[in-house]
């Protein structure tokens, strides 16, 4: 099995720092030929703008090129081909694969069928570990990753970016304030991992009481389709929107993040405040994905040498904390 990035649960502090350090170096040097001649397979079974384009930009900035499977409507998937067969074929064409798929566990399963590195770019309501790495990069650049108080707000149940971020943060000295309606709290599996990791987590239904303590406010979108009727959606989503006035009580140095796309959960007037970091965050996606791809394609692997809880252990079926 190759060196696959499937879940944030795989990532140790050393792994994260290795990728972020490498991203910072690539961001400074902006090289163009480190991975010339390599091909990255983009397998997106769901619509994506930022993730797909930033991976494409990343491989091209490294001197390589991308093979895009294109829209699934125009592919053999419509003929009933399994994901397993699709990735096996594409692995024969490319040096690494990036997969987004609507089913949870899709990346883990696909990785069992390929020998080239496979990177999970989102599997249903499961995980989105590359988003997490660029989130961590943005946090580190702005406020540092230790002694951190972070609020994560919105749809914590179905939000894969939240699942990955919350797990990865357990590697650092952070307090996580999880702010959501009761019906959209973290799923049981993620809670189990957080508890196993001894994470410092507090749950809230209201942002106001915790806002003054936060260094980071990570906002996610509450999706209309998660609610049985429109009125309920509007009532709940309305409570988890912020605007510039809502941030009056925040620390001066608070940064506001969002994996994007945003709809109405962050009012445009926040963009003009010194708190807004979401566009910087999206931009960081290229450097972080360059780092990931450079490590994955370099033969040494994405993951740092380490004592315990390594990807190798994980691949052998052990449950690393």
């Amino acid at each position: 099995m190759g060196q696959h990035l499937i879940s944030a649960k795989q990532l140790s502090r050393a792994d994260i720092e290795r990728v972020l350090d490498h991203a910072a170096a690539l961001d400074r040097d902006s090289p163009t030929d480190r991975r010339s001649g390599t091909l990255l397979g983009l397998c997106f079974f769901e619509p994506s703008t930022r993730t797909r384009l930033s991976f494409e930009a990343a491989i091209k900035r490294l001197g390589g090129d991308a093979l895009d499977m294109g829209a699934i409507e125009a592919s053999s998937v419509t003929k009933g081909e399994t994901l397993a067969d699709t990735v096996r074929v594409l692995a024969g064409y490319a040096d690494a694969l990036v997969l987004r798929h609507p089913s949870e566990g899709a990346a883990r399963m696909a990785s069992e069928f390929v020998s080239v590195p496979l990177i999970n770019a989102g599997d249903g309501a499961g995980q989105h570990p590359t988003q997490t790495l660029l989130d961590l990069y943005t946090i580190r650049e702005n406020v540092g990753l230790d002694d951190l108080s972070i609020g994560i707000m919105g749809d914590l149940k179905y939000g894969r970016t939240v699942h990955s971020l919350s797990l990865a943060l357990t590697n650092f000295d952070t307090t996580q304030h999880l702010i959501s309606p009761e019906s959209l709290r973290l799923p049981r599996g993620v809670r189990y991992d957080l508890e196993a990791a001894g994470a410092s987590v507090q749950e809230h239904t209201d942002l106001d009481p915790v806002l003054p303590d936060l260094d980071v406010l990570y906002v996610t979108r509450i999706q209309r389709e998660r609610f049985p009727d429109d009125a309920e959606y509007r009532a709940i989503a309305g409570e988890y929107r912020i605007d510039a006035t809502a941030l009056d009580d925040a620390k001066e140095g608070l940064i506001v993040m969002h994996p994007l796309p945003r709809v109405e959960e962050i009012a445009p007037d926040v963009d003009e405040t010194p708190h807004a970091r979401y566009f910087e965050q999206a931009k960081n996606g290229v450097a972080v994905r360059m780092a990931l791809l450079d490590l994955a394609l370099g033969g040494g692997g994405i993951f740092a040498e380490r004592e315990t809880g390594s990807l190798a252990d994980w691949n052998e079926g052990e449950d690393s904390p």
């Binding site: 397993a84 089913s103 399963m109 599996g189």
Partner: protein, 176 residues
């Protein structure tokens, strides 16, 4: 009062040796060939049958003792299934519901094998994932696999945790 002698009597019967004709507690007779599952937590016998896919429709002869006094478990269930020996997969699932169970294989009234169930680290192909969005729910060539936790099991693909409660497991058992 649940004296050790009561438990001993049921053990003797489970081994097919003798019930001495005076055991008022056990209420079931020894079997000629088949499997005796002993030390199932009290009240879970029907769940075990459900997990094993035994509902009587195939004509199996099954005796069930429920909430029998036991030293080890306080109250235990005992199942005697005639003319059937359990497979490895069945034992794996059984171990999740009844980790203290003992299995006696009976042939010609004698115990041909007696062993405790062992909780495996992982079970494959014996449970289906309850998450409809899990990759194992589609038509992919993948066998549903679960890590066994201290309480319950967890899908290795989507991470969904299935409770330790028997009903939860029996609903998703996929063996035989």
């Amino acid at each position: 009062m649940n004296g050790p002698d009561r438990d001993d009597r049921s053990e003797r019967d489970d081994r097919g040796e003798t019930d001495g004709g005076h055991d008022h507690e056990l209420r079931v007779t020894k079997i000629r060939d088949g499997t005796v599952i002993d030390h199932v937590p009290g009240g879970l016998a029907l769940t075990v049958l459900g997990v094993l896919g035994i509902d009587g429709s195939a004509g199996e002869v099954v005796s069930v003792g429920m909430n029998v006094p036991s030293d080890r478990l306080d109250r235990k269930d005992v199942l005697k299934i005639e003319n059937r020996e359990l497979t490895r997969d069945e034992l794996d699932v059984l171990s999740l519901i009844a980790p203290a169970a003992t299995i006696n294989i009976v042939r010609e009234y004698n115990v041909a094998g007696k062993h405790r169930v062992e909780r495996p680290e992982q079970v494959s192909g014996v449970l289906s994932c309850p998450n409809p969005d899990c990759i194992t729910a589609g038509n992919e060539p993948v066998v549903p696999t679960f890590d066994v936790l201290e309480e319950g099991v967890r899908c290795v693909y989507c991470g969904t945790i299935l409770g330790a409660e028997g009903a939860d497991l029996s609903e998703h058992a996929d063996i035989g």
